[in-house]
């Protein structure tokens, strides 16, 4: 019923929205993508060989907001790292997720939201050991290294990870850069 209603609304909305959206919408709200049990592999495949952070969050999770702020700051300094945010909120919360995205400028991030499949199936498609705690983030260094982290990570660790995954050659003194390349400890 909900799906049918949505489809009807969507059909009406599609011709109007893209035109107006250009003027009124931050990119993030217009590009909220549906996360299915295939999406995690697709996101990884699309970013093969480059550093990638996939961060799962929820509008009901306060520590998630703090993690988002850290990722935003890091991404600004290291734009070569791709950052993907996935709202683990059920589809019924879509309006609240959209409102959240309006209030928080997350331009530059690809943003997804959990779709209709059972939540445990979606989580399993990401990582069978993930029990649903948020924030939950995956750091892929583009060279085969993967670190999973639950909860707000230590900021120094995140900084070191970004610096190692995408060194900013022009802004960093050689000596400091060499330090940053040392393997960071776990968060």
């Amino acid at each position: 019923m909900t799906t049918r209603l949505c489809l009807r609304l969507c059909r009406r909305a599609i011709p109007v929205v893209p035109l107006l959206a250009v003027f009124f919408l931050p990119a993030s709200a217009a590009e909220l993508l549906l996360f299915t049990s295939r999406s995690f592999s697709e996101i990884r495949a699309a970013n093969e060989g480059r550093p990638l952070v996939v961060s799962f969050w929820s509008v009901n999770c306060e520590p998630c907001k703090a993690e988002m702020a850290v990722l935003k700051r890091m991404h600004r300094a290291h734009p070569a790292v791709r950052v993907v945010l996935v709202s683990a909120d059920p589809p019924a919360l879509r309006p609240i997720v959209v409102r959240f995205l309006h209030r928080n400028d997350l331009g530059g991030f690809e943003i997804w939201q959990f779709g209709d499949e059972p939540e445990e199936r979606l989580r399993y498609s990401v990582d069978r050991t993930w029990r649903g705690e948020l924030p939950r983030a995956y750091f892929f260094d583009g060279k085969g290294g993967r670190t999973a982290h639950s909860g707000l990570p230590d900021e120094a660790w995140v900084e070191a990870w970004f610096a190692q995954a995408a060194p900013v050659e022009s802004r960093t003194a050689p000596g400091k850069n060499a330090d940053a390349r040392a393997a960071p400890p776990r968060p």
């Binding site: 489809l7 549906l34 589809p91 019924a92 309006h102 939540e119 029990r131 707000l152």
Partner: protein, 392 residues
């Protein structure tokens, strides 16, 4: 005006993005889009009638079953209109029954700001035919967190409602950030007509996990919840709530040492056996040994602690009757969500485990109930609404 227009367009745009993608998402399975509406609770009355509270077309509703959940009478709508309920993973409406056939219900209604909500209450004094207009239980009416309601009735028929409350966090100085939230409660001694409160149980609880309440054989109401011990240890705490608003016996109940700033969305289950011993089941993400665990919560610490289920076990619940203890939980096997259960005949020393059911669709968290020495599990799934499984 501009802000409103932008928001409306945002909603449409989001719908468009979902609609365009939606067709490819289902792998041919029939999925329930309203997973959040599957939160349900149930209780047996003294005659063995099973009462369930659940969502029906957005309304809070109750249903009755005379045959242990094999068939249900038509639901009675409690709220006059559809009413949003908290969609936090651990949230669900609650039901408790009074000694004179009273039906008490609570649920959390989200407010407009993120993380906020109010705990609502309705009662029926005519065996579930009509329900009172919902009222807010807590006196504090700030638009802040009053969420994850828990409901219990003590031996004298007094109604206890506990919840997670952020008033202390809001009042705290910005220079000294507050650890977590707090647990508060209110008590009604007049069959839910009025509530006295708000009484504080403890400061520094976790913000997003359900609270477990149970009635001990001596009539006391005992609460178990995920706490935030210093500096950020998300293990569990226990306390006894009294009708005069006092609290006794606060102590740490689990010792997994899960140090993290996170929303686990994963609260505990609690039951008291005939000897007054407390049995609990809980989840921890402590990296050295994550999973779901059972233990008897003796005064000296957890006894007979053991793992429950496999790597993907989650959202366990527990009940106790006599010396028997029953546990049920969900476990996703890569294809289907399985409902599993285990029973101990000897107060938690030895266990027999079995498969109870499975679904490939959406499902709520299981709820274990005891009646007449036997266990039953309420499992509300998209494919089998208000399913009840015997846990032998």
């Amino acid at each position: 005006m501009k802000a409103r227009l932008t928001l409306a367009l945002g909603l449409l745009a989001a719908r468009a993005a979902f609609g365009a993608d939606g067709g490819s998402a289902h792998h041919g399975r029939s999925m329930n889009s309203a997973q959040t509406e599957l939160g349900a609770d149930a209780a047996f009355d003294r005659q063995g009638m099973l009462w369930a509270v659940h969502k029906v077309s957005g309304h809070i509703a109750i249903s009755r079953s005379e045959d242990r959940g094999r068939s249900w009478e038509n639901p009675v709508l409690v709220t006059p209109g559809p009413e949003p309920t908290d969609a936090g993973g651990d949230a669900r409406p609650k039901i408790a029954l009074g000694p004179k056939g009273e039906v008490y219900l609570t649920w959390t209604r989200p407010l407009s700001k993120p993380y906020t909500g109010e705990v609502r209450f309705s009662r029926s004094l005519d065996e579930g035919r009509t329900f009172s207009p919902p009222v807010v239980v807590h006196r504090d009416r700030q638009e802040i967190t009053h969420r994850f309601d828990a409901l219990a009735v003590d031996e004298q028929g007094r109604v206890f409602v506990a919840w997670i409350d952020k008033r202390d966090a809001v009042a705290a100085s910005k220079d000294a950030p507050y650890r977590g939230a707090a647990i508060y409660f209110a008590v009604s001694s007049d069959r839910g007509a009025t509530f006295a409160g708000d009484f504080k149980v403890a400061e520094h609880s976790c913000e997003c996990c359900r609270i477990a309440l149970t009635r001990a054989p001596d009539g006391d109401i005992v609460a178990l919840w995920r706490h935030v011990f210093e500096p950020n240890i998300r293990d569990h705490a226990l306390a006894t709530l009294h009708a005069d608003g006092t609290v006794s016996g606060f102590r740490r109940a689990t010792f997994d040492d899960w140090r993290i700033d996170v929303c686990p969305h994963h609260g505990p289950g609690l039951g008291a056996d005939a000897d007054g011993r407390l049995h609990a089941v809980w989840h921890t993400g402590a990296p050295q040994d994550p999973g779901v665990f059972y233990a008897r919560l003796d005064a000296n610490g957890p006894e007979s602690r053991r793992r429950v289920g496999g790597e993907t076990a989650e959202h366990a619940d527990l009940a106790a009757t006599g010396r028997r203890v029953g546990i049920a939980w969900k476990e996703f096997d890569g294809e289907r969500t399985r409902l599993r259960g285990m029973v101990s005949e000897d107060g938690g020393e030895s266990w027999l485990e079995r498969d109870l059911s499975a679904t490939d669709g959406a499902s709520g968290h299981p709820r274990v109930l005891a009646f007449d020495g036997r266990f039953y599990v309420l499992w509300n799934t998209a494919s089998r609404p208000l399913g009840v499984l015997a846990l032998p």
